[in-house]
């Protein structure tokens, strides 16, 4: 394990930001800290970096107890949501900063900076000031700057949060590819479940200062530990006392079935290739999503009598909290 966080507590005044958090983050992987805004993700990341101190608990980085170390001794790379570019320094000097602090020979610095600027495709902008770059370019610069010092771990706090949707998606794919090339242990914070599911090897779900679940994207999606995780990772609907994904429900007409629940279609909405059918079972409205062909073969419309059934072998079924 590359980062071991044990029993970390953090309060801001009376507010509990982290409540006895323990997480192990594996070496060489891309781990996402996922959760709703205000859940304590940034606080945890900043505690790993030493930018914030925990009230109790320990942080170990690659076997080294870092709990009491100041940030400059932890050898972590940190990338901020708003880039934190050094505004008065050129792109190349920004990237060189950590190496200059470490008093590396000039030639070595120049070589390494060029290498990194190539990696982030910013070589031709080396002499510009950060203010002359776009948001996406600034963030790539910040990434190169963090990688320059060959950090033990790379920490990114909502790195793409300030960018528009298209650039965000591009950079996300690019980060994944970059990680496959560089293999540095990486932890990134996001509140976007799609981003986490798409990019991460491992996801830590954090809510209200507590870890809800740790696992691979598949594990989280297919075996959510509780209804919070289930709800956070994708659309859900409730059938009886069970939370299920709307696409894991089947509709059928005609023959009765012991496991099925009868109801009446109250609404049909088409969203692109997906048809969303709302079925009233008397005391509940259940949402079922189908593709167009499935829907047409059922031959139903608003007002039709149908039966709703959970598809066989759906692993992710959770008893809903009353």
């Amino acid at each position: 394990m590359s980062i071991e966080i044990k029993n970390v507590n953090k309060r801001f005044g009376d507010f509990v930001a982290l409540d006895n958090v323990s997480v192990s983050i594996p070496s060489g992987q891309l781990t996402a800290l996922l959760g709703p805004s205000g859940g304590g993700k940034s606080t945890l990341l900043r505690i790993i970096a030493g930018l914030e101190s925990a009230e109790s608990g320990t942080v170990e980085i690659e076997g080294l107890n870092a709990t009491k170390l100041p940030p400059q001794k932890r050898n972590v790379g940190f990338v901020f949501q708003h880039y934190a570019a050094f505004k008065h320094l050129s792109v190349a000097r920004n990237v060189a900063f950590g190496l200059e602090i470490r008093k590396r020979p000039k030639d070595e610095i120049r070589e390494r900076v060029n290498e990194l600027l190539d990696l982030v495709h910013l070589r031709q902008f080396a002499d510009r000031l950060p203010s002359q770059l776009s948001g996406g370019q600034r963030q790539r610069m910040a990434l190169a700057r963090a990688l320059a010092v060959q950090p033990t771990v790379l920490l990114l706090d909502e790195p793409f949060g300030a960018l528009d949707a298209k650039v965000r998606k591009e950079l996300r794919d690019w980060l994944r590819r970059l990680h496959d090339e560089v293999h540095v242990t990486t932890v990134f914070v996001t509140h976007d479940q799609e981003e986490a599911l798409e990019v991460a090897d491992e996801i830590v779900v954090i809510n209200e200062g507590r870890v809800e679940q740790i696992g691979s994207p598949d594990e989280l999606y297919d075996q959510p530990a509780n209804d919070f995780v289930m709800k956070f990772l994708g659309p859900v609907t409730q059938l009886g006392d069970r939370l299920v994904r709307p696409h894991d429900l089947h509709l059928q007409v005609g023959e009765r079935d012991a496991e099925a629940v009868s109801g009446r279609v109250t609404r049909v909405t088409r969203i692109g290739f997906e048809i969303r059918v709302e079925v009233s079972t008397g005391d509940q409205v259940v949402t079922v999503t189908l593709n167009r062909n499935e829907f047409l073969s059922l031959g139903i419309g608003t007002g039709a009598e149908v039966q709703v059934r959970v598809a066989p072998d759906v692993p992710a079924v959770v008893r809903a909290a009353a």
């Binding site: 930018l51 940030p71 400059q72 972590v76 901020f80 050094f86 602090i101 010092v149």
Partner: protein
Amino acid sequence: MAKYALRLTVIAYLFFLVAWPLYLVGKNAFANGLDNITGILEDPDIVHALTLTVQVAVIAVIINTVFGVGISLLLVRYEFPGKRLLSAMLDVPLSVSPIVVGLALVLVYGGRNGWFGPALENAGFQVIFSTPGIVLATVFVALPLVIREVVPVLEEVGDEQEQAARSLGANAVQTFRRITLPSIKWGVIYGVVLSLARSLGEFGAVKVVSGNVLGQTRTATLVVEEKYLNFDKGGAYATAFLLALVAVACIITVSILRPKEDR
């Protein structure tokens, strides 16, 4: 139309309040050609006063810059009990009349009856009626100027760049020198210039604490008053002109040099 009326009002206001009176000082200083100026520059006592004023101003500015930047960092980057009180106290020198400042300093550092003065005097260090007292009074009245310029800049740049520098391995001193200082540079320069202008021109507090001894503790502003009261109007205007010239030149130079986006 309203815009032009407003503009005209502002220009007229500044003209009658600042530009025209200042111009008249200059005009009177050169009423007899260069005679007034050469007159004061040939008087060793006045040259001494001018030199003293510059020395005091430079020392006061250095002290106020170092402490000003330090206090600004404290105010913006740290939380501590009594912070609001400290912040409010920093405005006292601007709101209290300089003559009160002078009297207060005499009460504390006065050689005979001061609260702290006799002890210093016994240690061979005279404050009141000598240069340290003048410096002290000048430091006091110009105290908030650097802070008031630097605090908003520090708040605006935020501390993310500093955190980034720390995580890249820079210690506190390296972070300050390489990141904080360059980003607050123009705030500091502007504060220094305002302090310098204020320090050169301080009169009330200095008058009380200096003792106004010709050739020893008489500063340039005190020379202006002396000459004016003794009907040497030419000398008074010439000295006043030199004082104003330095101050205005400082401010104009900086506002020209200051990059637009930093304003």
